[in-house]
């Protein structure tokens, strides 16, 4: 028996409201029941979507007029990932935040909204879901209501709503030209359109908003504020960085496949490469552990963008696999960082020493995640990076790839400084936290060792890993790790130039201007090319 397609959207939202309405003592059990049931429903759904794409028209109206839910294998895999991650995050917070019913309600509603964005086919409904999830995410960011997170939450919300208004304006123009919001229908009718020029403007408006959601280069200024704000609960940072930006990437993939006739892959390839390198440079400059991780998300998003726009099938699969992998290792890193911050009472990484002795299990899972994110052999990042580099043949492309990876390595060599050092103190950590970190950390290894079968299960694509090529990539990893250490030792530590990089901060008006400039450049590119 498979549940109807609306289950992953309505089940968590319904439970969230129930938790708010029912007496206090039931909330913990209820939130775990909700997350567990959601995971079970998503597994059933994924099994069905593996056979053939599932679709459901709501209210007996079919597209182009009605609203349709549509789950192909990729969408079902993303919903499954969402359900799994939310369950693990609830385990992580079982002792503290889950005992707050406002948090449970908002967290479960966010789960439903994120699943909805993955499943919806109708662009207007996607707009509604994106707006509401922005509101919920902003409320979660400032959950502890201290002044700094209030400012960051407001900044995040206003700039995101600003971009969503662009999206809505694009939808208005799109509807006028085509008479539908359905991505499926658009994908069918647009290839037959002879003159695409009237669709350039709506396309640019929609893509500007999607790229802001995905935090592409000039539009990323909200991300470190939202994901790295000191007082935001670490599970919220993990959700935002692990899943929420993936919504932007996912929408990008869906929009690009609907608008296949408009070729912008070169534009986004360059934008992705710039994002990846700039994100790494900003990450190296930081000394706040949460901010390092946030800028890293920017850098990895750039890498995924490069993979998706390279044009090769294998690279695109690598990009999709990297979306899943990034969700895993970035969640571990944010959760681990949360534990470390609680334990040491500081976020400055130079003040944190001896974390390995003090909390061995958390440190082990964080190190697994670091090996994953840097693409060390046997870990999950190495598989997705291998696939991404599969089609790169020219020198410029390879050089850019190596540069991105060295940047990642340098910042994580800086990051791992906190594990070294001696201490006699043993941290007392709630077992749920350790368990959550260990589960996700070991998955980083499992998804690397069994990478081929995981990719086949999740995306239905058979890939082959050439042992000689993989060995060559592993050697390249060791060489880059060595050079990254040298760069860190002689080029980063104690150099004042990095302080100046750290001081670069887009204000609100500059961020709004960058949205408009991005839109203008994209429109110009479309009309001129």
């Amino acid at each position: 028996m498979t549940p109807p397609l609306w289950t992953p959207v309505l089940l968590p939202v319904g439970f969230g409201i129930l938790i708010y309405a029912l007496p206090e003592r039931m909330k913990r059990a209820l939130s775990f029941i909700a997350a567990g049931a959601q995971l079970a429903a998503c597994i059933l759904l994924f099994r069905e979507a593996c056979v053939a794409p599932v679709s459901l028209s709501l209210g007996k109206w079919n597209p182009p007029v009605g609203i349709m839910l549509y789950a192909d294998r990729f969408a079902a895999a993303m919903v499954l990932l969402t359900a799994f991650l939310f369950l693990v995050l609830l385990v992580f917070e079982a002792d503290r935040l889950v005992s707050d019913k406002n948090f449970c309600m908002l967290f479960l509603i966010l789960e439903g909204l994120l699943s909805g964005i993955f499943l919806l086919d109708d662009l207007f409904s996607i707009f509604i879901f994106v707006e509401v999830s922005t509101l919920v995410a902003a409320l979660l960011i400032m959950f502890r209501r201290d002044s700094r997170s209030m400012y960051d939450g407001l900044f995040y919300m206003v700039i995101n709503i600003f971009a969503s208004t662009f999206f809505l304006f694009g939808l208005a123009m799109l509807y006028k030209q085509t008479g539908t919001f359905s991505l499926q229908v658009l994908g069918q009718i647009l290839p037959d359109v002879e003159n695409m020029t009237p669709l350039y403007l709506p396309y640019a408006l929609i893509l500007t908003a999607v790229c802001l959601k995905a935090a592409l280069m000039p539009l990323f200024s909200w991300l470190p504020k939202a994901h790295g704000t000191p007082s935001a609960p670490s599970v919220v940072s993990a959700v935002l960085s692990g899943l929420y930006v993936k919504n932007g990437i996912y929408l990008f993939i869906r929009c690009q496949s609907a608008f296949q006739a408009i070729d912008t892959s070169t534009f986004f390839l360059v934008a992705g490469a710039v994002t990846a390198i700039a994100g790494a440079v900003f990450a190296i400059a930081q000394s706040d552990i949460k901010l390092i991780l946030s800028y890293h998300t920017v850098s990895q998003i750039g890498l995924i963008m490069v993979a998706l726009n390279m044009g090769g099938e294998t690279a695109a699969v690598g990009g999709m696999y990297h979306i899943v992998n990034h969700a895993l290792f970035k969640s571990v890193l944010f959760l681990g960082a949360g534990v470390v911050i609680d334990e040491y009472g500081t976020r400055n990484m130079y003040d944190i020493r001896g974390a390995f002795r003090r909390m061995p299990l958390i440190a082990v899972s964080m190190i697994a995640a670091i090996l994953g994110i840097t693409g060390a052999p046997l870990f999950n990042g190495s598989i997705s990076k291998y696939l991404i580099q599969h089609d790169v043949s020219d020198t410029l492309g390879s050089a850019a790839m190596i540069l991105i990876n060295v940047g990642t390595l340098v910042s994580f060599i800086k990051f791992s400084g906190m594990f070294f050092g001696n201490t006699r103190i043993k941290a007392r950590i709630f077992p749920g936290r350790t368990a959550a970190c260990l589960i996700l950390g070991s998955l980083c290894l499992v998804f690397g060792v069994f990478g081929v079968s995981v990719v086949r299960t999740l995306f239905g694509v058979s890939i082959t890993i050439d042992p000689a090529g993989y060995l060559k990539k592993s050697l390249a990893f060791l060489l880059s790790a060595g050079s990254a250490w040298l760069i860190y030792r002689f080029g980063v530590r104690g150099r004042s130039i990095w302080r100046r990089v750290r001081a670069v901060d887009f204000g609100f008006n500059a961020s709004a201007l960058s949205v408009v400039l991005f839109f203008a450049v994209l429109t110009g590119y479309l009309y001129l090319s």
Partner: protein
């Protein structure tokens, strides 16, 4: 393109201009509402003009106004109200805390512990 749509485009970019130049958080929220209103106007102006028949009843005249934009815009208005309400609540909090409603000044104060 009719007069409503041209007006909507002008108003939309007025709102965008407001977002870029104003440092006051209140004015940013107002600009957001202006942009929202412009999009709603654009949708409705595209759906039909004053002379088209209303799409009501079981026998709908051919050439009646398109009902979908109108149905969607009710949703968009509701969302806009919710967003404005939450943003204003946060603004009140920030103003009470910092005594300013300027993005730059509040941002500088935020850096202090």
């Amino acid at each position: 393109m009719n007069i409503g749509e041209i007006g909507a485009i002008v108003i939309f970019f007025l709102g965008v201009y407001g977002m870029i130049v104003h440092r006051n958080i209140m004015k940013s929220i107002l600009s957001l509402s202006v942009m929202d209103a412009a999009v709603i106007l654009f949708f409705l102006a595209g759906g039909g003009s004053g002379s088209t028949a209303a799409p009501i009843g079981s026998e709908i005249a051919s050439g009646a106004a398109d009902p979908i934009p109108q149905a969607l815009m009710i949703t968009a208005i509701v969302i806009g109200v919710a967003v404005t309400a939450v943003a204003l609540t946060m603004l009140i909090y920030i103003h009470n805390k910092y005594g300013t409603s300027n993005w730059e000044k509040a941002g500088k104060m935020r850096e202090r512990p």
